[in-house]
Symmetry: C2
């Protein structure tokens, strides 16, 4: 699919059909997300693919699927045939920026005014979400508000933070997110030339 | 360009020719980046496009271009005909999640274990970087380690954090980043099935 078409076609979807998803496609998309950039080529990102129905249910519970259900979305996190869980490691960036090519002997590690580990996982997630559209599939995104719950369930090491759960499947007719009623932010806020 | 091709073709580029870039293309790409997702459709992202040569020089100085120069890259930040500066606002997310549809009366705002404002700006930046490739242009990325310096130079409000400077231009023969010598991280770290 044309790149621009993929960007314009992408929506957050919260309803999926029962049709299964070829696991090879998901592996391919996660592999493609590896081509996202990272500070110092740290690559401090990792992905967990979950397709087991019981584990999907537990993941969905930790993500507060019941609350979404109350909002009228139904059990969209557990019903999607695949969940992809992106993780990021701040520690990996600290290790990388203590390597000799990033720090002269006796110097301190750089100070990080921006947590690039979170920005970089955003880049990787964007590639994945666009790749899903490119494959004729659909994806949503559930925020993670209990990272320790997911760490415990999935055996994620302490230094890795699961930043979301991305349910993927074949799209079904969907309920439009009420957040979209907000409309786009004003151009005068979003875009500036030569200065704010 | 095909979506997958854009992902595979994208590189961080640090050398640009003198050829100017059509400002309409940059406006179009930043507009396309607006289609990246954001938590609660907060859209807490903004972009500054800088083409004025004097301002570009000042931006480059704040980004430590001299240090890159020592590393053999030359003045790649100031020489690119366009710089795009993505910004993100944590405050915008707090305001959004204090709106009635996100918080019942008397409730507290959600706790944020993940700074989605940084992840979301990563998504928008990824769309921009891929769009640059789609247009036959090239882009690099300079981290921002003096956000106050950029705020002061460009009049960026205190609540907005400039997270990078993206020089954009027509690609010239480039010096490969030494970070790439690290190679890809092991599959066993990057990809997991059903659990870590």
């Amino acid at each position: 699919m044309d790149f621009t078409d993929a960007v314009l076609k992408r929506r957050m979807v919260r309803q999926f059909t029962d049709e299964p998803v070829d696991p090879a496609i998901i592996d391919k998309l996660v592999e493609l997300a590896r081509h996202a950039p990272s500070a110092g080529f740290t690559q401090g990102q990792a992905f967990i693919i979950v397709s087991d129905p019981q584990i999907r249910k537990q993941v969905a519970k930790i993500c507060g699927e019941e609350d979404y259900d109350t909002g009228g979305y139904g059990p969209w996190i557990s019903q999607a045939p695949v969940q992809v869980i992106p993780c990021t490691s701040e520690a990996a960036y600290h290790r990388r920026y203590n390597e000799p090519d990033k720090k002269a002997p006796g110097e301190e590690e750089i100070v990080w005014p921006v947590p690039y580990w979170h920005m970089d996982v955003g880049c990787a997630v964007m590639v994945l979400l666009l790749g899903v559209v490119d494959e004729g599939l659909a994806a949503g995104f559930a925020g993670v508000f209990d990272p320790d719950g997911l760490r415990s369930l999935l055996g994620i090491p302490a230094e890795w933070t699961p930043v979301g759960v991305i349910p993927i499947g074949h799209p079904a007719p969907d309920k439009r997110s009420p957040s979209l009623k907000r409309g786009r932010v004003a151009d005068a806020v979003y875009l500036h030339h030569e200065g704010w």
